[in-house]
């Protein structure tokens, strides 16, 4: 079997005494749309942050297309404080900053929209082309990189067209309505030319129609850009609609895994979401 697009192996993230993600293992194959769901505070965004390098997990490994991109074991006072359920630690320590992970081909959006506020829609996307530069400080300042600059602009423009924001390109990013800001974040992530797109609650704050359109949009860009999509989402309709597989976590631990139909009927999932009936 070919290497998975993304593979998590026993990832544990502990803040002080709180284990936010506990022994999470999962894999995402090429061209899949995989969802990570769970109640509020289950550790979904923390898992995202461990993959994208915002946090270094306390223990565990992350592989991207067979390459080890994150690996850590409890160090310092974490050695005594460690409370995760998996005790077999990796020996290697690999730490990558978010910018390096993005360069490898993983791009993400944020749960609470993080656009560049003082800049226009077009400039927001244009910034995401910076990581593909071949010009250095001197050639860029002296305008010796016209060719590259033109291709950056064309690429950014085509990304805006892909999400249908070409008409708003000169508006300030923050002046867009909420739904369009979400789309702009996706366009910006796409402009980094990722293979794996991580979407953190892309439908948050959207009405059912918008959510529906977003679902079609995600399926569409997957085939158009040859993407693999990993998303966190609370809108169950959307998740059940577009996901190939679903992982469910609660209190940092995986409680279920399977195709949408399996998850829908899983008693553990229902308990996690609705609570246990106390008698």
């Amino acid at each position: 079997m070919a290497d998975a697009m993304l593979e998590l192996s026993h990832v544990t993230m502990q803040f002080g005494g709180v284990v936010a993600v506990d022994n999470l293992s999962m894999h995402i194959d090429q061209d899949e749309i995989v969802a990570l769901i769970g109640p509020n505070g289950a550790g979904k965004t923390t898992a995202f942050n461990c993959i994208t390098g915002v946090y270094t997990p306390t223990s565990g490994q992350v592989f991207y297309r067979g390459e080890l991109i994150v690996s850590n074991r409890p160090q310092g006072k974490m050695k005594t404080l460690y409370a995760g359920s998996h005790k077999d630690f990796p020996t290697q320590v690999v730490v990558n900053t978010p910018d390096r992970i993005t360069k490898m081909g993983l791009a993400r959006t944020f749960q609470n929209i993080r656009l560049f506020k003082t800049q226009t829609v077009f400039e927001n996307v244009l910034i995401a082309t910076h990581l593909h530069r071949t010009s250095n400080l001197f050639t860029a300042t002296m305008r010796l990189n016209r060719q590259e600059e033109r291709s950056f602009r064309e690429h950014a423009m085509s990304m805006l067209e892909a999400v249908g924001l070409q008409d708003e390109k000169d508006e300030l990013a923050v002046s867009l309505p909420y739904g369009k800001q979400r789309r702009l974040e996706i366009a910006r992530a796409l402009a980094t030319r990722p293979r794996l797109l991580l979407l953190d609650e892309p439908a948050a704050g959207m009405n059912p129609q918008e959510t529906d359109a977003l679902g079609r949009f995600i399926v569409d860009i997957r085939s158009r850009f040859g993407l693999t999509v990993f998303l966190i989402e609370h809108h169950m309709d959307l998740v059940m609609d577009i996901s190939d597989r679903i992982y469910v976590i609660d209190f940092g631990r995986q409680i279920a895994h399977g195709i949408p139909e399996q998850i829908q009927d899983n008693p553990d999932v229902i308990t996690a979401y609705l609570g246990v009936d106390e008698e």
């Binding site: 900053t97 978010p98 993400r108 944020f110 400039e123 910034i127 082309t129 400080l137 300042t141 980094t192």
Partner: protein
């Protein structure tokens, strides 16, 4: 329209040629001019004219209209000949005195003509876009040169222009870091000090070194480098220090970074006064007798080139990533921007230009002393950046000229005790200027929260668009 432009350009060139010819021919004509202005000659002419006038009066008295008419004609002819002569002397004198300015004016006319021709012939529009900026830049430099020749190099106006140009560079370099990259650094005075000292140390005349470094046996450096080389070294020295302290300091955020850089500036000031470094820095004594500029064009040229470079940088892909870091570090990093590398880049570049600005300041002051580079100097420049607008290059430039003019010139009268008749104007006394100045600044900050320009730039394109918009609007109304 095209013909019209070319004809206008031709006329401008002819005018430029006339001016150049006049300026050049009057250069070597001092003896001729003196002869023409000779009081004896003038007295003789006056006597002749007096005689002619007397003849008219006598003819009128004799009641001889024919002779009176003839004498009058002769008198008028003589008079207008003299007027013409004095006019020509005046013309020659004008060119004799303002020769350099007139040559500069001719240069401007030629540039304007070239611009017109380019505008008329260029189809692609690429050259066309450069015409107006090129003309404006020529106007600026020619204007400075002419003003300097007319007002005198030591006039208050020139002082303000020179200091304003240097402060503009310092403010723009600080804006690159604080306004564009969002790193709140207060180390400006420290980097200026490094620049000023590096410049001074390398450009003191070799034969004066014994005198300057009299307490340190003539110092350890015994050569003199050309001014421009020393300025480049000044920038590089400041950049090197920035590179070294950037490594620990840039990991700090907002206020902590400000405190750390402020501390750095204070430490640098103390170190440069340290007696042990005397052979290099002359301890706490002045450095002097180094190369200074003799025309305001020099600081204008250096500051102009540096500001242009910063502007080009800011509008490049690197500048865009600086702005991204300012707006949202987390998102910038997620977009593949290496935070530390880019912050370091902005810090080092900003410090390089602060060093160059420090070198220019040393040239302007003609002496350098570490004790003068206090944190108050950093605050002055920070104030200019804030008043001009965080994230606006043109704002910083405009604000620095206004700031220097207001603090050095326009409010100067407030420091002098003034009597209106026998009434002594209250409050006017030494120091009152700074009180008013502070109030003015508070008012500016209150009414222009984001500074004069905000984060916009003064742009010809926008100005033109607004004009054409208004024209269009007017047409619709009509």
């Amino acid at each position: 329209m095209k013909m019209f432009k070319i004809i206008l350009a031709a006329l401008l060139v002819i005018l430029a040629l006339v001016i150049t010819a006049s300026a050049l021919t009057t250069r070597g004509t001092l003896p001729t001019l003196l002869e023409r202005m000779d009081p004896e000659n003038l007295a003789a002419q006056d006597a002749a004219m007096q005689k002619a006038k007397d003849r008219v009066t006598t003819a009128l008295a004799e009641n001889n209209p024919e002779r009176a008419q003839r004498s009058l004609d002769r008198y008028i002819n003589g008079f207008s000949a003299q007027l013409t002569l004095s006019g020509r002397v005046g013309y020659d004198l004008f060119f004799f005195r303002n020769g350099p300015s007139m040559l500069a004016l001719a240069l401007f006319l030629v540039v304007a003509a070239a611009g017109l021709i380019a505008h008329a012939l260029d189809r692609s529009g690429r050259v066309r876009k450069l015409v107006l900026p090129a003309i404006l830049i020529t106007v600026l430099y020619v204007g400075v040169y002419i003003v300097e020749n007319i007002a005198g190099a030591n006039s208050m106006l020139m002082t303000v222009l020179k200091k304003g140009a240097i402060y503009a560079l310092l403010a723009v370099s600080m804006n690159l870091l604080n306004g564009f990259t969002g790193l709140f650094s207060l180390g400006q005075a420290g980097f200026m000090l490094i620049g000023a000292y590096t410049y001074a140390i390398f450009s003191i005349e070799t034969q004066s070194r014994a005198q300057v470094y009299q307490y340190y046996a003539g110092g350890i450096i015994q050569f003199q480098l050309p001014a421009l080389v020393s300025i480049a070294l000044a920038g590089l020295a400041a950049a090197l220090f920035a590179f070294l302290i950037g490594w620990p300091v840039l990991r700090l955020k907002s206020d902590y970074l400000a405190i750390a850089t402020l501390g750095f500036a204070e430490i640098i000031r103390a170190i440069f006064q340290y007696d042990g470094l005397g052979p290099l820095t002359n301890g706490s004594n002045l450095l002097r007798k180094f190369t200074v500029f003799d025309t305001a064009l020099f600081p204008f040229a250096v500051a102009g080139v540096c500001i242009a470079l910063i502007a080009l940088l800011i509008h490049s892909t690197y500048g865009r990533s600086f702005k991204a870091i300012r707006d949202d570090e987390v998102a910038a990093e997620a977009m593949g921007i290496n935070l530390y590398a880019h912050k370091q880049m902005a810090f080092v570049i900003s410090s390089f230009f602060a060093g160059v600005g420090g070198a220019l300041l040393a040239m302007y002051q003609t002496t350098v002393q570490a004790a003068a580079f206090t944190s108050a100097m950093t605050y002055e420049i920070l104030l200019i950046v804030v008043i001009g607008g965080m994230g606006s290059i043109s704002g910083s430039v405009i604000a620095s000229f206004l700031f220097v003019a207001a603090s050095e010139w326009w409010l100067r009268f407030l420091d002098n005790e003034t009597m209106l008749g026998s009434f002594r104007v209250p409050l006017l006394r030494s120091g009152f200027r700074m009180v008013v100045f502070s109030v003015v600044i508070m008012a500016v900050v209150l009414f222009y929260r984001k500074g004069i320009m905000g984060d916009r730039e003064l742009s010809l394109g926008r100005f033109r668009r607004r004009l054409s918009h208004r024209r269009k609007g007017g047409a619709q109304d009509g």
